[in-house]
Every structure is written in C-alpha cells, then in structure tokens.
Symmetry: C2
Subunit: 117 residues, 2 copies
DNA sequence: CGCATAACTTATACATTGTATACTATATAT
DNA sequence: ATATATAGTATACAATGTATAAGTTATGCG
C-alpha cells in the first residue's frame, strides 16, 4: 500500500456547494445555493457556514465570484455570484465518481427508481 | 431557510470506510479496508488515518469491532474485524443518496457506462 | 425625513473530520 | 537471538464543517 494521498479531496459540504452551483446554471448567489442544497440535498444550511466554505473554495480556485448589482427588492444588497471553474468541475467529478464507484452494487439506494444517468 | 442541521453528516473518508467494510462482506480488518479503498476509491490510504477514523466510527456506534486470532503469517498480530451497524448503514445510505440526488442530471460521470443500479 | 425592517454578506470562533509520523505488539524466519 | 513482516495504537496537527453575531445597503412607511 502506498503511504500518502496525492489527490486533494473535497469535503462533503464542499461537494454539495459545487453541485448546487452547477444546478443553478453556474451563476449562483448565496441564497440560491442554500435553497438548492435544501431542496435536493435534503438538509438545512446556514449562511455563515455557506459563505465560509464558498470563500475557501474560491481561495482554492474551484469557484470564482463576481459582484452584481443590488436587487430592486427591499434590502437587496449587491449579490455575489459564484461560478464553478474548470478545476472545480474536475474536482467534483472525481469526488462523485469515487463515491459512486465505491457504492456500486451495494444496493444502497433509498429511492429504487433513481439512477444518476 | 432554517438555521441548523438536524442530521449528523458523515465526512467523505468516513463514507469510504463504511462502504469499503460493506464491500468486504461486512467483516473486515484494517488492510482489507485499505486495499478496498485503494482499488475502488482510486486513492491511497494511510493506516494511521484509517484506524483513527475507524475508532471514531466505533465511538459513534456506526461500526463495531471484534478481535480475532493471530494469522499464521510472518508477523500476524491478532486482527481486529469491523462490521457496519444498522445505524452505520442508515448513515451511509443517507450520505450516498444525498450526493446522488444533488448530482442527478448534471452529467458528471467519468465512466459513461456506470450506473449505481 | 429618518428609522425599522428585509436581503445579503462578512468576521470570528470553535467543533469535527482528515492525515501523517512515530511507536507498540506479536510472531516467524534465518 | 535478532532482524523482519504483519497488524494496530498514540498523538499531533491541518483541513473542513458549523454557528453566532455583526456589518452593509436599500426600501417602505410613519
């Protein structure tokens, strides 16, 4: 067996955030990302946690951000839009495929009609 | 949006370890688990890291261990066998299904012939 | 006007999980 | 008897996850 891991792994919440951004057409701001994770990921999120991880993903070059204009809505501070970079897409693909590969054949699906394809 | 997360999440390495134990017919010792993660998970492992996480999983009640007899092989200290508990199986199912649900339709598969079913 | 309120983001702190190095224990081969 | 292989433990530190509180900007409404 080898000694060290050459791949840089994503944590689970990092994966979910990257997947959520891709789901929202890859130009997503905080509350869209949170809503998407809640809807598809079946778990709650916390804005503080979310933005913390987003800024770490940006430091690692897996997402980029761009500040837009303020909304016309009451409140409406300028939104920060996030996109997954090429490196981010590769990273999330590898993570998802690793889990799938390990899961294959183990009959773990809760929704038996589900398939990733 | 809600404020806190009621589900206890698994980390990615925890997931891989649980999946590896299930793969090895659910009575697995350290080096089998490591080998399985290397083979299916496409990444290296480190024994120190592995045993640390195994003992945390045991503390959380997601695996149980049992010490067997020493091997007849050169060396062969008594092996510690791990099994995934019911709670462990539920936890890993939820984690895997969350990732799948978030990934569905995003065309992230590297091996296009792969499906979890 | 000006102040309460809503939408969004940032700062900060701490808990949990991931990883590596070094060490202990046991048995076999030479 | 002692070097070596197998298997696991102890420990320390880095990376990731999470929550609370605070800051920024605009709108609505008295």
């Amino acid at each position: 067996m080898s000694i060290s891991n050459p791949n840089k792994n994503l944590g689970e919440f990092e994966q979910l955030i990257l997947l959520a951004i891709l789901r929202v057409n890859n130009k997503s701001h905080g509350s869209e990302i949170a809503d998407t994770i809640e809807q598809y990921g079946n778990r709650n999120t916390n804005f503080g946690a979310l933005y913390t991880v987003l800024s770490r993903l940006e430091q690692k070059g897996l997402v980029v951000s761009e500040v837009g204009e303020a909304t016309a809505k009451r409140g409406g501070r300028a939104k920060k839009y996030f996109k997954v970079t090429g490196a981010g897409e590769i990273a999330v693909k590898q993570s998802v495929n690793t889990i799938l590969n390990m899961s294959k054949g183990l009959n773990l699906l809760l929704d038996k009609t589900m398939s990733i394809q």
